[in-house]
């Protein structure tokens, strides 16, 4: 059922910093092998903020782990992952030795989880987390702590108070920001964030998003923001990649995706996400449920829920093709999707 991706060539203005090609992750369960990532490909460009959008159960968290070659056992990661550092030749991540991989993680690419509540060791102080990371990567501790103070201040936190307290003494918002500071401690080039603000309050969520934009400029970062909250990434990201049933179904510049989404799932998702402007009548849920990784529907995995589905969709899984500048989609009938699934963004009221 899985067709290897035909090579679609984007002509990127910025050069690529992280190239994900035909990456798959498989778990063998009693009920059969479950493919939680199905030959996904994505080019992350230097200095951009790219959003990976997908509902829960679409495999987006697995994609985040795959980018750091940190898939939980007993998962098996295949395909190839190339990292292009600022200077020096490209690094083939999946064939790194353990020591090289240990250095790549956190020094080049770091990851911030959604579970900020439980990402700190409860029995040691926040400062110890910073010090041990610096020591184990051979960085100078004093200089590193100086940088930590600066990072925490940039994230509107009182460095001394936060560093000196135990994790259970901090509120959710403060822990999340401290986690981001920890992620940036070793001056990485890429920061992958998996639903970093999902567990936070509205106001805290929005202020962290606006903080991220300043942090990205100041520390010259590339951001990969993974979430299920479409409106949230609409503001933050330059480009979006939509994930459904463990595959990328569409990717392109944010405005292009929101105003001229071509894949039926993307359009249905836009219609189904409650937000402040859309007129009530056009909002409709998506029928059915997201597929189970062990028995993914044959052909295009969205066909059971898709209004445009015909037997071609059921027979053959469409490959992604370039349909506009920097906009690709994996659907046999992407031309008719616009009028089949009307979507009206509405005016901001």
């Amino acid at each position: 059922m899985t067709v290897s991706e035909t090579q679609f060539e984007h002509e990127p203005e910025q050069e690529i910093i992280l190239e994900v090609e035909n990456v798959s992750v498989e778990f063998d369960m009693e009920r059969g092998t479950s493919r939680v990532l199905d030959t996904v490909s994505l080019d992350v460009r230097r200095g951009e903020t790219i959003g990976v959008v997908g509902e829960s159960g679409s495999g987006k968290s697995m994609f985040a782990s795959a980018m750091l070659d940190a898939v939980v056992d007993p998962g098996i990661l295949s395909g190839d992952l190339t990292y292009y550092p600022n200077e020096g030749e490209p690094v083939d991540v999946l064939n790194l030795s353990d020591e090289e991989l240990r250095r790549l993680r956190w020094e080049e690419i770091s990851l911030v989880f959604q579970g900020a509540m439980s990402s700190f060791n409860p029995v040691i102080k926040v400062e110890d987390h910073f010090v041990e990371t610096l020591e184990d990567h051979g960085y100078d501790v004093d200089e590193g702590l100086e940088r930590a103070h600066q990072l925490l201040a940039d994230l509107y936190l009182d460095p001394n108070r936060v560093l000196d307290s135990y994790p259970h003494e901090l509120s959710g918002g403060m822990k999340q920001r401290a986690l981001i500071a920890l992620g940036l401690l070793l001056e990485p080039n890429v920061l992958v964030m998996d639903e970093p603000t999902a567990a936070l309050d509205l106001l805290m969520q929005r202020s962290i998003i606006s903080l991220l934009e300043d942090i990205k400029e100041k520390y010259d970062l590339t951001l990969v923001f993974i979430t299920h909250d479409l409106p949230l990434v609409g503001e933050l990201c330059d480009r979006l990649a939509v994930m459904y049933s463990f595959q990328f179904v569409e990717s392109g510049p944010t405005a292009e995706i929101i105003d001229h989404a071509k894949h039926p799932y993307t359009r249905a998702l836009l219609n189904a996400t409650p937000n402040m402007q859309m007129p009530l009548e056009t909002m409709r849920p998506i029928e059915g449920a997201s597929p189970d990784p062990v028995n993914v529907p044959p052909g295009c995995s969205y066909h059971p829920r898709c209004e445009l589905a015909d037997d071609l969709c059921e027979a053959q899984d469409p490959a992604r093709e370039l349909i506009g500048d920097d906009h690709d989609v994996a659907c046999h009938h992407w031309e008719e999707s616009a009028d089949a699934i009307p979507f009206d963004r509405g005016e901001s009221r």
Binding site: I209, A268, P274, M283, R345
Partner: protein, 372 residues
Amino acid sequence: MSRSNGEPVISIEDLEVHFEKKDGFLGKSQTVYAVDGLDLDIYENDVLVLVGESGCGKTTLGKTAIGLQEPTGGSVKYRGQDIWDAKEGNGDVDIPYDEIRRSLQIIHQDPGSALNPNRTVMANLSEPLKKWEPDLDLNDRRERIISLLERVGMTPPQDYASRYAHQLSGGEKQRVVLVRALLMNPDLILADEAVSALDVSLRIEMMDLMLELQDLIDTSYLFISHDLSNARYISEKADGRVGIMYLGELVEVGSPERVLFDTKHPYSKVLRWATPDLKSDPDVSSVPPVRRIDIPDAVNPPSGCRFHTRCPEAREVCAQEPPRLLETDDGDRRVACFRAEPDHEYWDSDPIEDESLEVGGAGDDDQATADD
């Protein structure tokens, strides 16, 4: 389904709910003012949505409204009968507590822990029927449950009825919970963040289902959410009302048209700013219109208007006396802010100046707040 302004199903007068937070064996106990001096009426077939950040007391208010949480001050009346008097049986009780208890139900946020994991869906649902419909025999009960399961779109119902909780998806569990509440033929259902744990694509389906069943069994909904978009969807679709809560007080309540899109209260404006839109218009500033990001501790809430420590338009007078919830001239909306009263002395008292706009916990220490 316009709101009938007859006698309210639930009327809450000057409600206060305070919690005793004891720190350790010998530590002094602190009182948390979860809900402080609040009036609210919920009518027949009404939909009222409460929105606010965590720690603002919306869940506490919800649970008090359906008689699960005993208030420390003020009263909660069900069709004129004080619930807790009925429960303890003091004073002449004209509506028995059993009837009140039966007509106020709840739907929780986390579908995972909403069903007894050790029993099948059928067993979970037949328990309440055994209590309230003793004359039904086993088969009648099964039939009624199966027809209701079918009614909420779970086909084939027999198959679902014999499943355990962990064999259902989040959306299916939430529908079983809805059925459990409906079995009681209630007058008011508290939906405590009932959709925020569901997949994005299922939220609208669940809200539509709830509104559709509202006509069938004429119940009111007290919907709690921290997400303005969900609040907008259900309140506009049901022509209901939206209430904004901050630190235990109702700061603005009225029709979604007024409260969400023509906001008067500065705090509602902050919430509106914080709700991301699909397409961000560039002129909305990325600096939050608030003087301090983190919520103050509910243990010793600020004096006067509780929002004055964070309100960008706060003035001296705001710190002295708390504003009252007053009708404004433009249609059905009440707001608790001096700015809504043109001739209030607020306009000539000078603004509060404090150190530069610092966002985050730099200033006040914000311990993790009590349950909201």
